[in-house]
């Protein structure tokens, strides 16, 4: 091989590697779902989330997932939320999924929220739930926040069987609580319930993917 051919081969190889790296970065590293803004009024914010047992759409129709309600009143398939700093946030989580049970019962108790209590289905506030009844958690570890989400009973009638988002006419639970954001930052949040059916330890797939059971809280 001539010297010119060797140099040409080297250049082509370098360009190919650079293209692969760029493809990887654009496809995976920087490919996040869109952020949804929490609704604000009178110095406080409100956030409404939904959890479903199966997303119902490609590419991962069977994956368990969170949804976020936007200011337009529509459900968005994302877990990235913009929220103001130093603000009281009222959260409503509508859950259409059944119980998976917590591996670590510690997360069955509400932590880091106003009054250290949550309300389920409009009932008087409670400090926590039975770990076996947990369907998911909404946890922001760096804020010390963790809230258990009560699952829909296995024998509940009219369970959601349509692609997400689920209609409110189907069986669901409603968990409400409030927490106060602190200083601005980029906080990750996650579910601690091993709810990814069919994956190793129940913690693969959607549990390892931003946009399904993990996300970011952009506090600004």
């Amino acid at each position: 091989m001539t010297r010119g051919a060797r140099i040409a081969a080297l250049l082509v190889s370098a360009v190919a590697v650079a293209a692969l790296v760029a493809f990887y970065i654009s496809t995976w590293v920087l490919n996040f779902p869109p952020a949804v803004q929490a609704q604000t009024s009178n110095g406080s914010a409100s956030l409404t989330l939904e959890t479903v047992a199966a997303y119902g759409h490609s590419p991962h129709s069977s994956w368990v997932s969170y949804f976020v309600k936007g200011a337009d009143g529509r459900w968005h398939h994302t877990t990235i939320i913009d929220i103001p700093a130093h603000t009281l946030v009222h959260v409503t989580i509508i859950n259409f999924d059944g119980n998976s049970g917590l591996r670590n019962p510690l997360w069955a108790k509400a932590r880091g929220v106003q009054g250290a209590e949550i309300s389920i289905n409009g009932k008087p506030p409670i400090a926590g739930i039975n770990p076996d009844d947990a369907s998911h958690t909404f946890a922001i570890p760096d804020m010390g926040i963790s809230v258990p989400i009560h699952g829909v009973a296995d024998n509940a009638p009219n369970q959601c069987a349509t692609p997400a988002p689920c209609p409110m006419s189907t069986a669901h639970t409603v968990t409400t609580f409030a927490f106060r954001t602190g200083k601005p930052g980029h906080y990750r949040w996650q579910c601690f319930v091993p709810c990814a059916a069919g994956f190793l330890n129940g913690f693969g797939g959607p549990m390892q993917t931003v946009g399904y059971m993990d996300g970011y809280l952009n506090v600004t």
Partner: protein
């Protein structure tokens, strides 16, 4: 001669300039021991490194290709003296370090032997009387801590009393993690179904870093936190606060050395 001079300078620099910055520091007896060990090893390695670099520079200068010189170098055969010296010196270094390392592992620093290595379910020697037992439970992606001597309370933050031996019992409830309390000189694998133990005695109050040292999934990089070494009275107060915020006792399982939930019940 140059090698000797550079080695002496290098060793002095290791002991007087590098040692204060040598990891993991001196927050505990064990981390201080490890810092000492790292310093000794660095001091031993310095003459070797200096020798390699000095010979490299010497070879580049003396044995460089000269203009018009295209002949091979002179034929050399065995040099028994060099070979014997090489074998004896490397043997002495390796055996010396093995003896030194074993002694460090077995010696009872602050009453805890074999610290920091995660020696399986039992320490090399029994834990000193009055030790604080702490169970570290790893999961994707957080560490939680149980204090069996204080009503089995479980917390999301780690606090330890100063000058009291602490025995960590480390396990995982999903994949393999590694509990790394950096400034305490403790790093222990967290393995499902296994109880790995190691001990430490903190000698200074203040914060220390906790990290997961085993790639464990999406948020592995975020699996970090601050622990705190408190005075005995502050630790007692902290325990009382934690006890007041525990879940109802009937929702918590009894303390166990390991947690290995039935995958059929907990896999979604």
């Amino acid at each position: 001669m140059i090698w000797v001079v550079l080695s002496v300078i290098g060793v002095l620099l290791v002991f007087f300039a590098l040692k204060p910055h040598m990891p993991p520091g001196n927050v505990s007896h064990q981390s201080a021991d490890q810092t000492e060990t790292n310093t000794v090893i660095a001091a031993i390695m310095t003459p070797i490194g200096v020798g390699v670099i000095a010979f490299l520079v010497y070879a580049v200068i003396v044995f460089r290709a000269r203009e018009g010189d295209e002949e091979d170098g002179p034929y050399t055969k065995d040099n028994g003296r060099v070979q014997r010296t090489w074998i004896l010196v490397t043997l002495a270094i390796v055996l010396g370090l093995a003896i030194y390392g074993t002694d460090e592992l077995l010696s009872a620093s602050a009453g805890i032997a074999g610290v920091g290595g995660g020696q399986g379910p039992t320490l090399i020697r029994s834990a000193p009387a009055g030790s604080l037992q702490v169970q570290v439970i790893a999961q994707q992606w957080a560490f939680t801590y149980r204090y069996p001597q204080y009503g089995d309370i479980e917390t999301t933050t780690l606090a330890l009393p100063v000058n009291r031996p602490v025995i960590f019992n480390v396990t995982s409830i999903d994949v393999i993690h590694s509990f790394w309390a950096y400034q305490l000189g403790v790093k222990i694998d967290a393995v499902p179904g296994t109880n790995n133990t190691a001990g430490t005695t903190a000698t200074h109050t203040g914060l220390f870093d906790i990290r997961c040292a085993e790639l464990c999934g999406l948020w592995h990089g975020a699996m970090s936190a601050k622990g705190e070494v408190l005075t005995p009275s502050a630790f007692t107060s902290w325990i009382h606060v934690q006890q007041a915020h525990q879940p109802a006792p009937n929702t918590m399982p009894p303390h166990a050395k390991t947690y290995f939930p039935d995958p059929n019940d907990r896999a979604g």
